[in-house]
């Protein structure tokens, strides 16, 4: 006794009941199954030696798109011989269109069929009806018979046509030069028949159910054991799914923060609206410095002015600007104005944040950093935005040195994924010595400037009560993101195309 899945079971029963082989199409109707499923079940039975499959091929004929008009109006060459007959058995080619009611092109196209059928012969410039042609006037040629038959029955097999008295072989030969008049397809008839073994097996066969879905009920009553699970196409593609994701630039910002946290830095914050004092004056930038120009810095209509810190600090900064104060510097040698220092600006760099932190607590050891937005009066284009992110950090330490600044920068850039650096001298108003970091970009085959750094000038640190070296650096972060994501236009970061957000991979 064997068990069978549903389709095989019913098919075997049906085959065993029949005396002889059955057409697959008929089995499909009988079993209410799709032909393809009958074939699949049949193939399984054949493989098990329970059934045999035989095939019979035949041709199926139908009229093509150009066949219908021919069936309706008759072949043009017939119209020609009829016209020639009316004209006394001969006509010049020039006369034919009028005589036959065809246009010149139509006549030209059917001449070769006329001649091939031997219905007419050329005599000088004229055509003359041949003996065959005269015979044809009363008898239809095989191609005409085929077209007429197909117009009647829509489709027909070669056997049926033969029965109807159509010489299909001769007809198809005549139609050789006429495309799309009659379409022929090779068809197969498949028969399934039970073998002896099949007939024996059918008497004892047992049905085994096959299911698509495993259900909670099956798990509860254990019936999953009595059924088969139809296999799925495990190679099939699925719809792409995109998770909710952090913005690609956010991942750069978070990586930057994480790197400094890993290196033992504390995170600090300061306001976007900043006094000129903390943004410029405390950093020893003279009050007529071009960076403070209205062209480059956003000054504010509201709020109108900022409070300055306690007088002691303001006074120390004033004196340092004017003549160096107690710092040993010669200063900038101009009259410093408190009013200008109280003017609010949108902070132009996050160094405003680190210098505030330094002033709040100048005592070593301290390591702090800030990742935040800064503002420059830039017209928006593919590489400039009026708002962008910077990271700034400082180290206040008795043992800090220019060499440890270079080491800190190197550690940072290594963690950000770069491994070739150059340190080049640079100038910034508030650091001395100053350095620019270049990293080697394989994609560009060149060194790219990544950020500026230095040791805060004594003119910066001493008025704020700090007497140990302070290492400082600042870096724009959009640039890093643009390299990482291959962006050509910085605006892409802030005017987000959702397709880009979805496509950018988390690993990038």
């Amino acid at each position: 006794m064997s068990t069978f899945r549903e389709n095989e079971f019913h098919l075997l029963k049906a085959l065993a009941e029949a005396e002889e082989g059955l057409l697959v199409g008929e089995l499909a109707t009988r079993l209410s199954l799709d032909q393809s499923l009958v074939m699949a079940a049949g193939a399984n039975l054949v493989e098990a030696g329970l059934a045999a499959m035989t095939e019979q091929t035949y041709q199926e004929y139908r009229l093509g798109d150009l066949g219908r008009p021919l069936a309706a109006h008759g072949l043009p060459e017939r119209r020609l011989i009829e016209a020639m007959d009316r004209a006394g058995g001969s006509a010049t080619i020039a006369q034919l269109p009028d005589l036959a009611g065809l246009d010149k092109k139509g006549v030209g196209q059917c001449l070769r069929f006329l001649l091939a059928k031997g219905w007419a012969e050329k005599r000088g410039g004229a055509l003359e009806l041949s003996a065959t042609g005269r015979l044809a006037l009363s008898e239809r040629s095989p191609d005409e018979l085929l077209i007429a038959r197909l117009a009647e029955v829509e489709e027909s097999t070669d056997a049926e046509l033969e029965e109807a008295g159509v010489d299909t072989a001769a007809a198809m030969k005549l139609l050789l030069g006429r495309k799309n008049v009659v379409r022929v397809k090779k068809r197969k008839l498949r028969y399934l028949e039970a073998t002896e073994a099949g007939r024996r097996e059918a008497t004892t066969a047992v049905l085994r159910r096959e299911v698509n879905q495993l259900t909670s009920a099956m798990l509860a009553d254990g019936s999953w054991k009595d059924v088969d699970f139809r296999p799925y196409d495990m190679a099939a593609e699925t719809e792409p799914l995109v998770p909710g994701k952090a913005h690609p630039f956010r991942r750069v910002l978070e990586q930057t923060r994480r790197v400094f946290l890993e290196m033992g830095f504390s995170e600090i914050v300061s306001p976007f609206v900043e006094s000129s004092f903390w943004d410029f004056d405390a950093l020893f930038q003279p009050q007529d410095h071009p960076a403070r120009d209205m062209q480059d810095t956003f000054y504010l209509a509201r709020p109108g002015r900022c409070d300055l810190p306690e007088d002691e600090v303001v006074e120390a900064v004033r004196r340092t600007h004017e003549d160096g104060g107690d710092t040993g510097s010669v200063g900038w040698r101009y009259r410093w104005r408190r009013k200008l220092a109280a003017e609010p600006v949108l902070r132009t760099h996050t160094t405003a944040c680190t210098i505030r932190a330094l002033a709040a607590d100048p005592n070593p050891p301290r390591k702090v950093f800030c990742v935040g937005k800064v503002f420059r009066r830039e017209t928006v284009d593919y590489k400039h935005l009026p708002v962008f992110f910077q990271v700034d950090g400082i180290i206040i330490d008795e043992q800090a040195s220019f060499a440890s600044l270079l080491g800190t920068l190197e550690a940072f850039y290594r963690k950000m994924g770069f491994d070739k650096f150059q340190f080049r001298p640079a100038f910034f108003p508030y650091t001395e010595p100053s350095v620019e970091v270049f990293v080697y970009m394989e994609e560009k085959q060149d060194w790219v400037e990544m950020g500026g750094a230095g040791v805060f000038r004594p003119e910066v640190t001493e008025p704020l009560g700090c007497r140990v070296p302070v290492l400082a650096w600042g870096l724009g972060l959009e640039r890093l993101a643009m390299f990482r994501y291959g962006l050509e236009d910085i605006r892409q970061i802030y005017i987000s195309d959702l397709a880009w957000l979805k496509e950018t991979k988390l690993c990038q």
Partner: protein, 613 residues
């Protein structure tokens, strides 16, 4: 930064070393020069006025003289080709004007490469000429008090050198002069100047007339008053702003009372330098004596480097408060502590090593006692304000590439801000709910954040005083408009869309700067069948992950459909507090952002939740 092209041949002639092309670039980079690379320049000379023009390989020869306006397309014979030459293109290092020209740059390189250590000395002839400075220039009528002058004799300038001097003058105006405001340079034909006594005075706007440079002295209408020059002469119009608020104008005249120049605007035609000029009178006027003196020092010492045959002669300057001579090339003495230098740089240095480094940066060095060195800084250096600046010079001579990077040995414990940790939780929650994070611009405008949102213009925001565009006039007071903008640009993408942003909004506040940032999170969803329940669920999920309960109260919020807006009240250990709003956006709001599907949003204030600023 402007870019300068240093002719390779002029530079190499003055280097006492044979450097390969790449080697030269490397050494310049070690000195802090931002080198772009080599290029070929073609030079042309205007036969009318002697002006020399440079073009790069990709540019077309000039059709007009930029100085006298001669038209070369109709008279090609007036344009003389001076041939071409290789230059090193580099960005000007504003703090080192003494390296702007091939002469000064070669001087730095010779010392740095060890061929000519220590202070470079220049011979100066004693003064013959004297400039009397009128007290008016120190007052409010005409505040341009400082002047420094020099006489240069035995000048035989080739076209190449003339171009270098012209470039240097222009670049000094940029770097030290702040476009002539702090210092402006005038160069005159000494033969046309009546010595010995000149006068630097102040003149009424209509008090004199003279023919300005470039005007035809034969034409009687060429003689202009200072006021006319400011109105009519191209240079007058360009620089008139420098004399804003002046009731009188600076004027430099010679012994005959004829005009040399009206600083900082224009020279007279009478004293124009020509091909035949053999001696020069030079002045630098400006706001401070130190700066005009340094500017003159850079100019005359570079001139000496460019044409070693010249003789520079000092000029006596008679200020109302005393006499001095310029150029004054007395070195600046700075004491430098050897140990402090080594500690700051993180490099092992003794007095001998440090002396060697400083000599290679062009300074003279002598022992100064108590572990210090007495450093004599050249008078053309304007950037040594503090001994720290010499430490940088030493570091550059040592070579940044030779310093071993290390880390500060002190242990510190780091930590993030609480609001960042909370922001991360909000992002994780919303990403888990299928929202995409976006970032939008911090600057926005009233039309977007009030009008489009159906809100009253409150004025409770930070406003910039001179915006770049009418789209960016204020710091955003809310995140919602930026999110809706993002939906607008994504109108053609698949719906529904769920996006969020975590970021700062700014409000006016009683702080030292008058404003305050708040960290917010906002989310919006758009699409058919999307609504208030979806955003309420999302906002509640965020608050729940923070450990807060949530309650919403219907509120009349104009940006939402009536009856479909609410305030969000968070409920935690510290009690209830209002932390945000949510609702289904009003069709007029959707229309203002050109959105064609229903949408709902929420906005939560994380600063209120964490209580941290």
């Amino acid at each position: 930064m402007p870019v300068v092209g240093i002719p390779v041949s002029l530079l190499n002639d003055r280097l006492a070393a044979d450097l390969g092309r790449d080697e030269l670039i490397e050494e310049l980079q070690h000195l802090g020069c931002d080198v772009e690379g080599y290029a070929t320049l073609r030079r042309f000379k205007c036969r009318h006025c002697g002006n020399i023009m440079e073009i790069t390989e990709t540019q077309q020869p000039p059709v007009l003289c930029r100085r006298c306006g001669a038209d070369f397309s109709s008279a090609p014979q007036s344009l003389q080709s001076l041939g071409e030459g290789d230059v090193i293109r580099m960005e000007l290092l504003a703090v080192r004007p003494d390296m702007f020209d091939p002469g000064g740059l070669a001087r730095t390189l010779r010392a740095y490469l060890g061929a000519e250590r220590g202070l470079r000395r220049y011979e100066l002839a004693p003064p013959v000429a004297r400039v009397v400075v009128h007290p008016d220039l120190s007052g409010d009528l005409c505040p341009r008090p400082a002047i420094a002058c020099a006489v240069v004799r035995s000048v035989a300038l080739s076209d190449d050198i003339i171009k270098e001097v012209m470039n240097l003058q222009e670049n000094l105006h940029w770097a030290l002069g702040r476009d002539r405001k702090h210092a402006s340079i005038g160069v005159y034909d000494l033969e046309r100047v009546r010595l010995p006594e000149l006068r630097y005075g102040a003149v009424e706007p209509e008090g004199i007339s003279f023919v300005p440079l470039g005007y035809d002295p034969a034409d009687p209408t060429s003689s202009l008053t200072p006021a006319q020059i400011l109105r009519e002469h191209p240079k007058g119009v360009e620089y008139a702003g420098l004399l804003d608020g002046f009731e009188r104008y600076p004027l430099l005249t010679d012994g005959d009372g004829s005009v040399l120049s009206m600083p900082p605007i224009i020279n007279s035609e009478h004293t124009r330098v020509t091909d035949g000029t053999r001696s020069l009178f030079i002045d630098v006027t400006g706001l401070g004596r130190r700066l005009v003196g340094r500017t003159l020092n850079v100019l005359v010492t570079s001139l000496e480097e460019l044409c070693p045959d010249v003789m520079v002669e000092q000029v006596q300057i008679a200020y109302p408060d005393g006499e001095m001579v310029t150029p004054d090339l007395t070195p600046q003495d700075v004491d430098l502590d050897v140990e402090a230098t080594g500690l700051l740089l993180g490099v092992d240095l003794d007095a001998t090593a440090l002396t060697d480094l400083l000599e290679r940066m062009g300074h003279d060095v002598a022992p100064g006692g108590q572990g210090a060195l007495k450093v004599r800084v050249p008078a053309y250096r304007n950037d040594i304000l503090h001994p720290r600046d010499l430490m940088e010079d030493a570091a550059i001579a040592y070579g940044y590439h030779n310093i071993t990077p290390r880390l500060v040995p002190t242990m510190t414990v780091g930590g993030e801000r609480r609001v960042e940790a909370v922001s991360r939780l909000a992002r994780e929650t919303l990403c888990g709910l299928g929202y995409l994070e976006v970032m939008t611009l911090q600057l926005t405008c009233e039309r977007r954040c009030y009008d489009a949102m159906r809100l009253e213009r409150s004025g409770d925001h930070v406003e910039v005083s001179h915006p770049i565009s009418s789209e960016q006039t204020l710091l955003r007071p809310s995140l919602a408009p930026g999110l809706l903008d993002t939906l607008t640009v994504n109108a053609h993408r698949e719906y529904p869309q769920r996006i969020f942003e975590v970021g700062e909004v700014t409000e006016l506040a009683d702080t030292d700067t008058g404003a305050l940032e708040r960290r917010r999170v906002a989310g919006v969803i758009i699409g058919e069948k999307m609504g208030v329940t979806d955003v309420r669920a999302a906002a509640a999920a965020v608050l729940r992950e923070f450990g807060w309960g949530v309650r919403t109260c219907t509120a009349p919020l104009p940006q939402f459909l009536p009856g479909r807006g609410a305030t969000i009240i968070a409920d935690g250990e510290a009690g209830e507090r209002e932390v945000g709003v949510l609702g289904e956006l009003h069709p007029e709001v959707l229309d203002a952002f050109r959105l064609r599907h229903p949408a709902a949003d929420f906005e939560l204030d994380l600063t209120t939740l964490t209580g941290e600023r």
